[in-house]
Assembly symmetry: C3
Homo-oligomer: 327 residues x 3
């Protein structure tokens, strides 16, 4: 649905003018793509998120979230469920498609029309690109994209940006390295786009098989984003403020030996910090398999579990904003 | 369990005398079949349901619903979960049998004896006819039949009747057409029975393969229900007040070509309204596959998504009545 | 995690001194094994549990339980969910491993690090021995072992002990018979250990194939527990105060005929009471298959469904104690 300017939220006097404007625009609307936020809106939105760090009031009492997970995703699902529950709301839905009417041949449009009868807003995770938009067009209820195929996962990107800002103190003029699977990785794609638009310099570190797709490279160039590509992890490390690691999946490789070679080459451990800035943080969307050795976990420079924690704050804020129940 | 006359509910003075009598009878009892309500009781019950349209109070705070789905049913499950959650109650249970003790050979009786320790009332969906009655006999807690095989699904019938009354202004003296699979369709069977008992005229439109079973036809005749059977959809349409469409399932047919022929013959779209009364409504228990073309969805005569919405109101009322927590 | 003496709970003046000491020690800690409670602590803990029989206040409002079931267990899961829900708390998690990141190769350690971001305490059920301890070491949140392989299931043992005390009036100086699979049965192992430590006499009744493992027998001897082993059920019955029956699983036997023979020999029905003390109670951790004939269910000496009911009281108490929210 489109933002409804008519339904003005009872925004408290403590909000700044840009915050009020953003809250009004987002009330009752959808979150489908990180692209729907201009760079200055992203900064304003993260200011609003920050206010939710200390919110424990049952703001969402009586509200029901429909969590429709057409493919399993423990992390995203539990994070949304936790956010809703902590604010006093309820959650209904399904964790995978096996126990749904979809197996009876129901269209996504109909499933959403059904769900809107049962809940106040919907988070959808779906294996197909564009599914979240189809869902949003089917209902007047707010829809949050919880990941649609290799397309978008905007709440992941928001929690990544929020983590960067809390750790680095700013959202721009950083040098951010992306390591691993830059060809298929949805989380990396979204963050590359947003971080570029916010005026950061990007260092794309991957094997040739998993480079950023040409189309995305061209988009970066069109928007005058400063970026460089390299296969050489060691050479890239010293200048980075952030190293964003992604999972390399075996199924992307035809040759198992080639997979092993690539995986070993881009696996990091505590020694990576020897040549890094003492302020460089290591991020990962999780789950990880072997990309980051547990020896790094105890380091204050490891930020990946903090990302998961920040995800709850981000989602608490988004749920409250869309449902117009502000602290 | 049987209704316990002893546990009188604190029925408010605003209820009418027939409403009070019904509420007393239903308090703490089971809902296993639509047959347990006489025609005048159905009307009274729908009056009570109507009062729940505006109820948002946490009437069921502290109460727990056990949702035991021995076969998947997203719609029914989410509808009950939503109703319970909106009234402040909690829900526990399972969405399919894979993650239950049933796979260890536990009897239904024992599963229910276990569940009654954990919740205040039970809704059960089960592939076998009569399972809901077995459940009700095992426990003193109220049990709601959420569909048992091809037998009964009383809350579906109640929401169908509620939708008809809201749209047509009455529950009797209507001409109601049933289209599609009248042989196996549980929702159609229950509604045919109830609509007949309420004094409506029935038009049964189906291919010969999917006609109403002989036993059910005889029952209609015994109860002096006016009904006719036809294969001719176009001829039947002009006189109808309600057209209730059902899904035709491929697995009912041995010959795939025969399935295609039948399905195409009984598929409807927006043009069906050209020859219908301007007040005729189109209903469907959902999920649909191809029976109703989406071109009909935007018409005010399409009532099928409203049925899903009404399902929440009906179930909110039933949960509150059985648990004796009235507004 | 270790008990944090720093975080003193606001223990009410009505608690006895031993109760206060135990509550302080347990606040924020884990429940991994029944062995972590000394005999006198078990008695004190059950005194505390008893106070929760009448507690209905929303003590756990705003708190979230993470229910991580890496293998299905309806009974334990629903019991924890019910306890949490009845006290006003929320529950998130998964009922089996299929819909989790574990299928992506995530380690248990990482799954727990994720979960701790989303909830206030964790109950874990896992097919591998020691999994609960691994979980507890990964997080500062309280962890409850909901069963790890054939190792421990401490909340089951606590509800068994609670049932024995309520029915027999005491926790020691009883003669307790254990019947069936004493080789693999986790519930029996834990209770044998605890009941022995509490000063009861044990009668271990099983076929040779399913005797208590030698190591466990030696442990009993080392702790001076009085116990005897026998194959003869009929001879053992007259002296018993408690008969604890367990399920004999076909998969333990290579030869199906041998399984049938054993199962039939140790199946009991209402006639077992003819030669028993009139006060002897029959217990079973459930689910049962054929071990106890339903003819026994109506007898006041059957205590197995009461065990399930007591499980909610025990778990309500434990959740409240660990989260330091006492009535």
């Amino acid at each position: 649905m489109s933002p409804t300017l008519a339904r003005l939220s009872p925004v408290d006097a403590t909000w700044t003018e840009p915050e009020r404007a953003l809250l009004r625009r987002m009330a009752g609307s959808d979150i489908l793509s990180i692209r729907q936020f201009a760079p200055d809106e992203l900064k304003t939105l993260l200011d609003v998120v920050e206010r939710f760090e200390r919110v424990t009031a049952p703001l969402l009492q009586g509200k029901v979230l429909g969590a429709l997970f057409f493919e399993p995703s423990t992390r995203t699902r539990l994070s949304f469920e936790s956010s809703m529950t902590r604010l006093g709301g309820g959650v209904i839905g399904f964790a995978d498609v096996q126990s749904t009417s979809v197996t009876k041949g129901e269209s996504l449009h109909d499933t959403i029309r059904m769900a809107e009868c049962y809940c106040d807003l919907i988070v959808i995770r779906h294996p197909h690109e564009g599914a979240a938009r189809v869902a949003a067009e089917a209902t007047a209820r707010p829809v949050i994209n919880g990941g649609d195929g290799s397309n978008q996962h905007p709440t992941q990107t928001l929690l990544d940006l929020y983590t960067i800002r809390r750790r680095c103190g700013r959202l721009s003029d950083l040098r951010i390295g992306f390591l691993g699977d830059l060809k298929y990785g949805r989380a990396a794609h979204s963050l590359i786009e947003a971080a570029g638009a916010l005026g950061n310099e990007l260092v794309l570190i991957s094997p040739p098989e998993l480079q950023l797709p040409a189309l995305r490279r061209e988009e970066l160039s069109e928007h005058d984003v400063r970026f460089m590509e390299t296969e050489d992890l060691d050479a890239a490390i010293p200048g980075l403020d952030v190293l964003y690691v992604t999972r390399i999946q075996q199924e992307r490789f035809g040759d198992p030996l080639e997979f092993e070679r690539v995986r070993n080459a881009y696996q990091i451990d505590i020694t990576i910090l020897d040549h890094a800035k003492p302020t460089m943080i290591v991020m990962h969307p999780l789950p990880r398999v072997n990309e980051i050795h547990p020896s790094l976990d105890a380091s204050p420079q490891a930020a990946y579990f903090e990302q998961a924690r920040n995800g709850v704050t981000v989602r608490k804020a988004l749920l409250s904003i869309l449902l117009e129940r502000l602290p």
